[in-house]
Amino acid sequence: MRQLFDDERGISAIWVAVVALFLVASAALAVDTSGAFGTAQTDQTTADLSCLAGVNELPDTSAGINLAVAYAVENWPEVAGNSVSISGTTGTYADGTGNEVYIEAEHDGDPSKMLVRVTEIQETWFAKVMGQDEITVVQEAICFHQEVRNGTGLLPIGALAGSWNGDLFDCAAKVTGNCGAMSPGSNGANAYRDAVANGIVGDFIKHHGNQNIADPDTGFATIDCFASPCNVSETEPGNMVGPWNQGLSIRFDDPGAVCVEDGWFNCDSLDQVLGAAANPLSSAPAGTEAALGWHNTLYGTYAAAQAASHPNAQHYFFNGGTLDCDSPRLATVPIVAQNQNWDIGDGSGSWPNGRKDMKFIGFYTIYIREPNTIADIGGPIDADIIWFGPDSKCITGEAFQPIGSLGPVNQGVWLVDS
């Protein structure tokens, strides 16, 4: 007996066998777990892209559900060939084996919000040994469709999507005396002057035109524009030079400005407004435009903006530091679109001088560079475009918001949770 226990030959092999068993079991577990993580990754893609595709159809819930399902199948072709079941504002697409796409077209009761939940049954490789034949992977995305309905501090000048060159008041290419003036909510020269001075504050309300034509882009009846905020605003027709100059004079008569010229005029430089040197747009890291949702439809081709050589509209990128957010030289200009299909105005005249309805679809944030002195009032207004990153902060510590705190600042489709 003693000899048996004294004989240590083979002890390493026994130890290795025990450890190897543990290692093999760990490896097997890792394979199945990795498989589940891989499935979760692809399912998240399915949920995200399905949600973003479908939410644009809202408030038409049926169309939204069907398109969400279509994109779910595009990204998950293994479940193709089944049919969608719609009940009220929810839809289910299942293959009968546990794989399922569930959609809520009015998530949380919000007619502009959608939820897509993807459930996939992942068969295991090695965990079967332990009686675990499958793993259920569930991934979810919540997204919403947002339209611009109100704002704070907007300069009452519309810029057509993708085509604005920064010449705010250089009317060479437009109708002299009116360079895209927008109604600040109530009509008239005095209201326009005040909006130039202090910005449009409040909801976009429409007061003229046909009340019975629905906006084909959204499905919402435009009559809502009279009773509640909407994304359509009227132009301010006629010669607006006088009110514009008066408003601008008031705007720059700012006793809180960093410096004053001629005892009157604000002269904050762009560097003073930013609290740091301005960087050209080309300094933005690769991929920033995607991460921040800079939409080419709104702002023009990003590459073209980076390479912009227009002398009156330089493009800058800024992310971080502190901003003098109260500077009257920092302004937000609404990007507008005109479409006869949803133009509910009286149809007279042409942009920018006639009475038209313009749809608000986004914003530029600008630095008003000219006029720089009181003597320049009445001359061309030049502005630079600033592309803000997410870390931009006001001196007061709050995150910079291009149009204040009253309402949403962007239009489009967005992932709330992913």
């Binding site: 004989d7 240590e8 030959r9 083979g10 002890i11 390493s12 092999a13 290795v16 450890v19 190897a20 290692l23 093999v24 490896a27 890792a30 394979v31 990795s34 993580f37 891989g38 990754q41 692809t42 998240q44 893609t45 995200d48 892209l49 973003l52 595709a53 644009n56 398109l67 279509a70 994109y71 595009e74 990204n75 999507a161 882009d217 890291p285 690769a286 991929g287 435009e289 995607a290 949702g293 800079w294 939409h295 080419n296 439809t297 990003y302 590459a303 679109a337 749809k359 679809i361 239009q411 489009g412 489709v413």
Partner: protein
């Protein structure tokens, strides 16, 4: 008899016998995990690129694919993956009813869409004493957001 009774070095010999097996296992775990990691990152990159491509309007079939690929590359590079090893199978705008460069795919959604498909061809799985190659693939299809 005297020889067999001497146990000095026995553990060493046994360790030498089992060490290759342990190393094989360890390298196997490592190389497979790395492949999973790359595949997952490619999936994420394809999704981000497709989401970016959805906002590129108007789509320029000459320049836009490069911009979309740059978004994917930025994502891949942030995970220390050699972007030059990954090829573009398809980055394209597929009109409603159109066919893709990926011949297995036809767009039947009633909308225009962006397809991003990436491939890491011949990814080498190293098992210490031998190796094999596999193709890693990831794709994402996003609805193209038309101009308002």
């Amino acid at each position: 008899m005297r020889l067999s009774a001497n146990e000095r070095g026995a553990a060493l010999i046994e360790a030498a016998l089992v060490l290759p097996f342990l190393l094989l296992l360890t390298f196997g775990i490592w190389t497979t995990a790395r492949a999973w990691n790359i595949n997952n990152t490619m999936e994420h990159a394809a999704r981000e690129a497709a989401r970016y491509g959805a906002t590129v309007d108007p789509w320029d079939s000459g320049a836009s694919p490069g911009d979309v690929r740059a978004v994917a590359d930025a994502d891949l590079a942030s995970s220390a993956i050699d972007t030059t090893a990954i090829s573009t199978v398809c980055i394209e705008l597929i009109a409603d009813g159109g066919d893709s460069c990926d011949t297995s795919h036809t767009n039947a959604t009633g909308t225009d869409q962006i397809l991003v498909k990436l491939r890491y061809p011949d990814y080498k799985l190293e098992f210490l004493f031998f190796s094999t190659t596999i193709d890693l693939e990831a794709s994402a299809i996003s609805r193209h957001e038309a101009a308002p």
